[in-house]
């Protein structure tokens, strides 16, 4: 239990996926204009990352290791993730229409989110068990959601600020990300 908690806090806050590992920067910069959409994206990432960590861990343990083909992990993982996102989308559309209404538009964007592949590979590199892998995936996604929702809140406020012309748009967002990143390095002592 203690181990799991350490993994969870470590991936959600201390080694935040966006602010210290630079994974999933694209949606972090692209879909963080409004809190609502940011939260929707976060929800979709939590959903997909948790499932994909489970599936990729299972495939790694029971297919790749069993057949001695660990070196194929990159190819297998990326194709599994791409197929999984499509399946989740179709499944949601049929079975959970309200959830699909809320998260559907973000799902196709998630395949390009390098955090998904990143977590699958980290789980292998760190030798996590299946449960640890799922916890790591879930916590990483929670960390992503925290970062993107905080950023969206700041950006909604920044709409009213007088930003120098050259810094409007992306630069001021990146500067904000820098300050958030500095704040998050303060968590480094926790574990």
């Amino acid at each position: 239990m203690r181990e799991l908690l350490m993994i969870a806090i470590g991936s959600a806050i201390v080694n935040n996926v966006v602010l210290s590992q630079f994974l999933g920067l694209c949606p972090f910069l692209g879909v963080s204009k409004k809190i609502n959409t940011a939260a929707g994206m976060g929800g979709a990432v939590i959903f997909v990352l948790t499932i994909s960590s489970l599936i990729t861990s299972l495939i790694y343990k029971f297919v790749l290791v069993a057949t001695g083909t660990e070196y194929l992990q990159t190819i297998v993982f990326i194709l599994v993730i791409a197929a999984l996102v499509q399946l989740v989308e179709m499944f949601m559309k049929k079975v959970l229409p309200p959830l699909y209404q809320a998260l559907g538009v973000y799902l196709p964007l998630i395949t390009t989110n390098c955090a998904v592949l990143g977590v699958a590979i980290t789980n292998v590199q760190e030798n996590y068990s299946i449960l640890e892998g799922v916890v790591n995936g879930f916590a990483t996604a929670v960390g992503f959601t925290i970062a993107i929702v905080l950023m969206a809140g700041l950006r909604e406020k920044m709409e009213y600020n007088d930003v120098p012309k050259a810094f409007q748009g992306m630069p001021i967002v990146l500067l904000t990300a820098m300050l958030m990143s500095i704040a998050f390095t303060g968590f480094a002592g926790i574990i």
């Binding site: 920067l25 194929l72 990159t74 194709l79 395949t111 390098c114 748009g169 990146l174 990143s181």
Partner: protein
Amino acid sequence: MKTNSPVERLYNGIIKENPTFVMMIGMCPTLAVTTSATNGIGMGLTTLVILTLSNMMISLLRKMIPDGVRMPAYIGVVASFVTIVQLLLEGYIPELYDALGIYIPLIVVNCIILGRAEAFAGKNKVIPSIFDGLGMGIGFTIGLTSIGAVRELIGAGQLFGFQILPASYEPVTIFIMAPGAFLVLALLVAVQNYVKNKKAAKGQPVQQSSCGQGCGSCGNTVCGGKKL
């Protein structure tokens, strides 16, 4: 210059559509590995090799890949080359392999590679595609190396691991930590915006950056339209 001639493709990749400074794509590795000039050049060259090989292969296969499944097919090709290069690096340059770590397998989802496959190699002949990959790869290497050099110089007083600034210089360590990456990129984009605004004020045509929203728009154009 003749369209699609080798020289034109190289010029296009290095100057006109430089992936780092003009198009602003492939930002995840750009920020993550540029803690030193050496890492920047290593990542740049790794991407260069994979990009050139995948462009060549995709161009060779372009008439065989059905349009509906082209994205998964491209991903398969790119992932295979990434695996090959990853194993070679692990075997022959273990220092670089350790330094780049998880960002080597993540080259698969680098927008530049799938973007070039979709925008160029899938529609053009083999020779121009190879030079397109080379040009883009060299442009990316130059971008990463220069960002890495700036961060290493300010953050550690070194360049390629050699002490450049006098020992009395107090390194601004934050530049080689995560926040420094955001800072350097923010200033880079601000300079780019400034130049664009100047040009626009003079009434000159401004080349629209394809990725004004970071790589957010890349998700829409390249990979979001994935058909499986």
